[in-house]
């Protein structure tokens, strides 16, 4: 995880080349951060097509904004800020537009292979319980406010430290910890009926 204050940005060279119109350098940045940003956007939107479209918009926005990127933060922090802001704006618009329910979400999100432990495959009962738990976890995640879901996604799923989350969201570390605390309490209460 880059620390803006201590290290030079490892992406300086790629960013400078991309700024001068080298699209291959920008491709390298997409390949470097694409998966992480995909995870962020997907866990926030729970929708694969929306994730794809948003990711295109995020990288296009970053590409066009490169001339205004002053290097006050690392490229990583900067593009994360763009991604979080655009995703939150998208979620607000989507909520206004359709009042999306859980039924509108991707089947794949409800059937996340990452949660299926291979050791449980041989045990249909355990596997069924795990699926149920996974479904409840996703529902609980979607019942969080957008601000809380953002910190849970970044901290618990993506493993980003508090300080970096604070930098990306432009809030204090205390705010990040407080949001996480309340988000965890909410998830605990939502999952208590399904926890053995």
């Amino acid at each position: 995880m880059p620390d803006d204050s201590l290290q030079p940005d490892p992406d300086d060279d790629l960013v400078a080349r991309a700024r001068n119109g080298d699209t291959r350098a920008f491709d390298a940045l997409i390949l470097k951060y694409g998966e992480k940003l995909y995870g962020l956007v997907y866990n926030m939107t729970s929708h694969k097509e929306d994730t794809h479209d948003l990711l295109q918009d995020i990288f296009a926005k970053a590409y066009h904004s490169l001339p205004r990127f002053r290097g006050q933060s690392s490229f990583y922090t900067w593009i994360y800020q763009i991604a979080v802001n655009m995703t939150l704006n998208f979620l607000k618009k989507r909520k206004r537009r359709s009042g999306m329910s859980l039924n509108d979400l991707d089947a794949s999100f409800q059937d996340d292979p990452a949660l299926v432990d291979a050791s449980h495959l041989a045990n249909p009962e355990k596997q069924s319980k795990l699926h149920e738990l996974q479904k409840r976890l996703n529902e609980a995640m979607l019942s969080l406010s957008e601000a809380h879901r953002t910190v849970v996604t970044m901290f618990d799923i993506q493993g980003i430290p508090h300080a970096e989350i604070a930098r990306i969201l432009k809030v204090s570390e205390g705010t990040v910890r407080s949001r996480l605390h309340y988000a965890h309490l909410h998830l605990q209460s939502k999952l208590q009926d399904y926890w053995e």
Partner: protein
């Protein structure tokens, strides 16, 4: 029974391995380049100018309202300064004309040849004599 915070963290951490399918970013990059080319083509002409201006304006953040206010104020000032003002006309009392107006005959021009332009040697009393 409630799961602990650590258990919730462990459960959520499993989702860290969630990735798009293999080869996803090859197609993603192709689409991205197509998009950039289409945007470049669009940016030529008036529509492009408008898009760039809109993008610049939306990038300004909260200060855009100050710019918008200033622009609106300047527009109003320019309109007030340049709008043609009608001259103030004081209405005068009019009387109806009830007689025929005839155009005057042009005054007869005396023929210079007929005039005696020689200096006169005789003058009357009090007049200068040449």
């Amino acid at each position: 029974m409630k799961p602990t915070v650590e258990e919730i963290g462990t459960l959520l951490a499993l989702k860290r391995h969630e990735r798009p399918e293999d080869g996803y970013f090859d197609g993603f990059l192709r689409e991205f380049h197509q998009r950039l080319r289409a945007e470049e083509a669009q940016q030529k002409g008036l529509a492009g100018w408008w898009r760039k201006t809109s993008a610049w304006f939306s990038d300004l953040g909260a200060s855009k309202w100050a710019y918008a206010g200033g622009l609106a104020y300047a527009t109003i000032v320019v309109l007030v300064m340049t709008f043609p003002r009608g001259q103030e006309v004081i209405p005068t009392a009019t009387t109806p004309v009830n007689h025929e107006v005839r155009s005057l005959e042009p005054a007869a021009v005396e023929q210079l040849d007929a005039l005696d332009l020689r200096p006169s040697t005789k003058g009357r009393t009090g007049e200068q004599e040449f």
